[in-house]
């Protein structure tokens, strides 16, 4: 396995991918530049606005503007806390369900039902039950994002070969180590898949939760721009969302690549 050749190829693929993306941007630019539509500014205008809005403070000013701390940071914070809650609950519950069939039988129908509840619509309920503060937003995000991680963990844990567990038991390994060194690593691919899905769901719910009773955040900014018919900022917020999703995915991919290195290698051997 010659890693330098591999990384060369990766660079090439990325270059082709970004080339295509740039091409698409160009098409977008040309199409919008000619239309003069109020609703569809050109990508150049959008990026200008984006930079102006959030990244114009220069190196001395710490690059990001004050608006960044109003529009972006609160959302990041809510998203992160919500996701962390969702992940901890989801993984814990998933392992419980996967290892104790009776628990699974008891709560599975209800969990499936709760999973099917449409997140944005829970907003009025959440407002009533949890109030209008950050708690409401974080719990909405956590509630929406917990399902994929829970169910992925559950099915991954169920699929952990019994041989692994028995091997550990014969070695008289404590249950804590069985959990952390056998069950969780063995289920880690499934868990990571769940983490990815839950992140994109979390972003959807973040936006939904910031639609009401908020005074900052991307969702709030988006609605305000939309309410005041400021289409350029509105697009900036949309692009910011896309970038947020892209970057969070990048981060997760990075972590996953580290943690699941063995799995990626194993897959490449079996190909």
């Amino acid at each position: 396995m010659n890693t330098s050749v591999r990384s060369n190829e990766r660079v090439l693929r990325a270059a082709v991918g970004w080339g295509a993306a740039a091409l698409l941007l160009l098409v977008w630019q040309l199409a919008t530049a000619r239309s003069e539509s109020l609703f569809f500014p050109t990508p150049l205008q959008i990026f200008d606005d984006l930079r102006e809005r959030w990244f114009s403070d220069g190196l001395s000013g710490g690059i990001v503007t004050d608006a960044f701390f109003v529009d972006i940071t609160p959302s990041l914070e809510r998203l992160l806390i919500g996701l962390l809650i969702a992940w901890s609950i989801g993984i814990t519950l998933g392992v419980l369900l996967g290892r104790i069939p009776v628990v699974a039988h008891l709560v599975e129908p209800i969990l499936h039902f709760m999973r099917a509840l449409p997140g944005p619509v829970l907003l009025p309920l959440a407002l009533v039950l949890v109030g209008t503060g950050t708690t409401m937003r974080v719990s909405l995000i956590a509630f929406g994002a917990v399902w994929p991680i829970l169910f992925n963990t559950y099915s991954a844990v169920r699929r952990v070969p019994e041989g692994y567990v028995e091997t550990a038991r014969v070695a008289r390994v404590s249950w804590v180590r069985v959990l952390f060194q056998v069950i969780l690593p063995s289920a880690s691919t499934g868990i990571f898949a769940g983490i990815r899905i839950s992140t994109s769901l979390g972003i959807i719910l973040l936006i939904a939760s910031e639609l009401v009773a908020a005074s900052d955040g991307i969702g709030f900014g988006l609605t305000q721009a939309q309410r005041s018919f400021q289409f350029l900022p509105m697009w900036s917020f949309i692009v910011a969302l896309s970038l947020l999703g892209y970057l969070s995915n990048l981060v997760l991919t990075g972590i996953e690549a580290g943690v699941l290195r063995w799995h990626r290698l194993q897959m490449s051997v079996q190909d």
């Binding site: 693929r13 082709v16 991918g17 970004w18 080339g19 295509a20 993306a21 698409l24 609703f39 009776v102 039988h105 008891l106 709560v107 599975e108 129908p109 209800i110 499936h112 039902f113 709760m114 999973r115 099917a116 509840l117 449409p118 997140g119 944005p120 619509v121 829970l122 907003l123 009025p124 309920l125 009533v128 039950l129 949890v130 109030g131 070969p161 019994e162 041989g163 899905i197 994109s200 972003i203 959807i204 973040l206 936006i207 939904a208 639609l211 969702g219 988006l222 609605t223 939309q226 509105m234 917020f237 949309i238 969302l241 896309s242 947020l244 999703g245 892209y246 969070s248 995915n249 190909d271």
Partner: protein, 294 residues
Amino acid sequence: MDSRQPVALTATETVSVTPHAADGNTRPPGRVLRSDRIIERSIIAARGVAGVLGFLALWEVVARYDLLPRDVLPAASTTLASSAALLGDPAFLGQIGATLWAAFVGFALAVVIAVPAGLVLGLSDRLHAATATVVELLRPLPPVGLVPLLVLVAGQGLEMKAVVVALGCVWPLLVNTIHGVHSTDGTAWATARSFGWSQRTVALRVVWPSAVPSVLTGVRITASVALILCVGAEFIGGSRDGLGSWLLQQSMLPGGIDTVCAGVVIAGALGLLVNAAVTALERRFAGWAHREDS
């Protein structure tokens, strides 16, 4: 068994042939009878019912005795009664019909776009590399955040809802289809080629069937997402009809929380139904891929 017995390379006499499948399946070989499976299923079902009842009881108690910090949660009994009443209301059923239809249209749109695209991208490495970045940039866009913009372009009707649903469903379907194509076994591919089949025939007869389970998994995941997105779009975009806009109006009414709760319960039940339907579909068309489970 004399001295001319060849060395270990020959077949040594075995006591018996064990049905050890070479795939490491170490399940006891005992046959499971149909009636036993029924018994087992009913035990599981009974536990499920017990769980649901326990949950409802907990809800009832919490609501009755105001155990939550805010004393606004309607009781389980009240909510279920209003849900039942709603289900008897033809106007409300009409709203549900509208939601289901829009979710279906958007979902179908996503399938029609994503599955063929996934097949092509799965088969062509170059196209895959070329589109990867664009996909990665577009994928995280939360469709619900685009609703205001879409209302401007597509109004508040079926078109808008369908576009929101399709936008949300197209990516998981695409990813699952590509994954399905990639998971076609190399030997299966070589076997089909050894039949003297063209690339196209192989794609049609081997790659596609191999991809079906993964595609159907994508369908199962996205079907419930479709419903959630549709209701969300109606709720945020104030659509002309549908469960979401109905909930929106209820939530604006004083004391509407009871009906909102009832509507949410129905929305959840609807999601369960859709999921059950798609799971049945999956068992029917990709049962072979889930052989370990059955």
